[in-house]
């Protein structure tokens, strides 16, 4: 098998490639932040009676909260801020499909490239 000779890349081409990667990194990481997509569903379940007892804190817990500088009023929003786990099936299915599709593509395309590498490497010998 003849050895593959890659083309020489111009400096402008190299700079363009770096720019593509950097822009892609920023879009992938920054866009979900900007769109507010990151973060779990967490909300405060308010209580009328703001006492340690109503907040489900026993005497030991209450003493530690107080040592940390909290009162039942200031601790209320921390203690009652709860996750509400809901399985959104359409999103879960989309996520699973995207992940599986990505890995399948990755392994299949890699294998095609790998065969070229192995052929060239070992047929040279």
């Amino acid at each position: 098998m003849s050895r593959y000779k890659p083309p020489e890349q111009s400096k402008a081409g190299q700079i363009l490639d770096i720019a593509v990667v950097v822009v892609a990194i920023f879009v992938a990481l920054w866009l979900p932040l900007k769109l507010g997509l990151a973060g779990a569903a967490k909300s405060i379940d308010p209580l009328d009676a703001k006492t340690w007892d109503a907040l489900g804190q026993n005497a030991t817990m209450a003493s530690i909260w107080e040592k940390l500088g909290y009162t039942p009023e200031t601790a209320h929003d921390i203690i009652q801020n709860r996750f509400h786990y809901v399985i959104d099936w359409p999103t879960l299915i989309i996520m699973a499909a995207v992940l599986i599709g990505y890995f399948v593509f990755l392994f299949r395309a890699s294998d095609r490239e790998y065969r070229e590498v192995i052929n060239e490497k070992f047929d040279d010998k």
């Binding site: 770096i18 203690i79 786990y85 490497k121």
Partner: protein, 466 residues
């Protein structure tokens, strides 16, 4: 190409060389240094997700995940000893496109971890100072720039520093543990009164699964030891020894940290604080312990950011060296023998994200890339054993019970993906789409600049099945 076990490595006929100056202690310092910050912040968000008991359960289960990672990694890396770690593994075992993706996983995971470390350090100083109007920005910038400079100046000095500061941070956890009389309950530690049957698992078992997301933070980055493969004097000895010793160290630290913190703080507070160990130090009432844990938090963040810069730069450097990215990145500093262009290139990216992301989000970015990488590793070891069965090539280390660690790793990765879905599903989809699009770009465009046969650099026989 040859990978010579002397002080230089010749790549594609060019004189590109990193210095072989590191020993097992440096490998330990690199791995534990990156990870130990997870005990000082991050793991405790698992308590927020599922309660204090959930944080303990995931400490064990994620410990199992990382033990599998360390076992698998030790075998493959002690055999494929090249900078880039898992990138070099993927290149030799799966193929170029996978290698390109794995390198990006590494760069993302470590750069975002570095960002998290810098934010933690800045926030900790601001919290300690208690000065109105003081922000963390200058501390974040100084941390990232100074550590990048340290990495620029040489790997030996970088990891010597890491060894010292990691050891101090680790010893502080041990001192705290023995200072609170762990053998007696009721005096300082009050586990029975803080973790009760009614609040141990406030969300039930779905909370335990959700806690996997931040349970990863107990150990995230231990696999970074492999990035030193081309700079250790004896890869076959140093890498397995340093990695496994690091994992044992971390399992002990994680168990001590959970026990002390869960015995001193209500889970609702433990789940939201950025400084669980520092808070534990404060709650002992001892100014000495409080200040020790404050300093240890800073040192752990510094050690982690330092190791992350080291690892991310080597992964990026490897991409340039194989022309997966412009070869400009593959330059080694003529005097300091470091991948200085990669270090400098990643510096502004880390700075930018340190200012636009918060700690929670930066941690999640890092975890996402880490879990994608572990999924690859579970499949990679299967392919490695199939293509080169035991006895066909010389392995520096052979991990036991194959394929059990790979199966365990894969299953735990699936659970972690589900955990991420419960909090950051859209983020996971967005990142996977990014990796998919950048893979298309690589496969159909960028790969044409890559020399085919030159990528396979190990002196191995042809893989079975090819």
């Amino acid at each position: 190409m040859t990978v010579a076990l002397d002080n230089t490595t010749t790549i594609h006929g060019d004189r590109v060389s990193l210095l072989r100056v590191l020993g097992p202690a440096h490998v330990w310092a690199l791995g534990v240094g990156i990870v130990l910050v997870g005990e000082f912040t991050g793991w405790n968000f698992a308590a927020d997700k599922g309660g204090a008991l959930a944080a303990l359960i995931v400490c064990w289960l994620v410990g199992l995940l990382y033990t599998s990672v360390a076992m698998i990694d030790s075998e493959v890396t002690s055999t494929v000893a090249a900078a880039g770690g898992q990138y070099a593994q993927a290149k030799h075992i799966v193929g170029p496109l996978m290698a390109f993706n794995v390198a990006l996983f590494l760069v993302f995971a470590y750069t975002m971890l570095e960002v998290s470390d810098a934010i933690l350090l800045g926030d900790t100083i601001v919290a300690k100072a208690g000065v109105e109007g003081l922000t963390h920005n200058s501390f974040i910038a100084a941390t990232i720039v100074v550590l990048a400079w340290l990495n620029y100046r040489g790997v030996l000095m970088t990891l010597n520093v890491n060894f010292v500061i990691t050891a101090i941070a680790y010893i502080s956890i041990v001192i705290l543990f023995f200072s609170v009389s762990p053998w007696t309950q009721g005096a300082v530690l009050k586990l029975n009164e803080l973790v009760t049957p009614s609040n141990a698992l406030p969300y039930g078992w779905i909370g335990v699964i959700a806690a996997f997301q931040f349970g990863i933070w107990y150990y995230l980055g231990i696999e970074g030891t492999t990035q030193a493969a081309e700079e250790v004097r004896s890869p076959a000895r140093s890498l397995p020894y340093g990695t496994m010793a690091g994992m044992i160290t971390l399992l002990i630290a994680a168990a001590m940290t959970w026990y002390v913190c869960a015995s001193m703080m209500p889970w609702e507070y433990l789940g939201i604080t950025y400084y669980p160990l520092w808070d534990a130090g404060k709650l002992t009432g001892s100014p000495l312990l409080e200040n020790l844990l404050f300093i240890a938090t800073l040192l752990a963040a510094l050690a982690s950011a330092n190791g992350c810069i080291n690892d991310a730069a080597r992964a990026w450097f490897s991409l340039g060296r194989d022309r997966y990215l412009p070869s400009w990145f593959s330059a080694v500093h003529p005097r300091y023998r470091t991948p200085y262009r990669s270090i400098l290139f990643l510096l502004p990216i880390a700075l930018a994200f340190a200012f636009i992301a918060d700690l929670n989000q930066a941690i999640t970015f890092s975890i996402l890339s880490g879990v994608l990488q572990y999924t690859f590793m579970s499949i990679n070891i299967m392919m490695f054993r199939k293509k080169w069965p035991l006895g066909s090539i010389r392995r520096g280390y052979t991990h036991p019970f194959h394929p059990l660690p790979a199966i365990v790793l894969f299953c735990l990765c699936v659970v972690t993906f589900f955990a991420i879905f419960l909090g950051f599903g859209s983020q996971l989809i967005a990142m996977t789409i990014f990796y998919f699009l950048i893979s298309l770009w690589f496969h159909f465009y960028r790969y044409k600049f890559v020399r085919r046969g030159d990528q396979f650099t190990m002196p191995w026989p042809k893989p079975q099945g090819y």
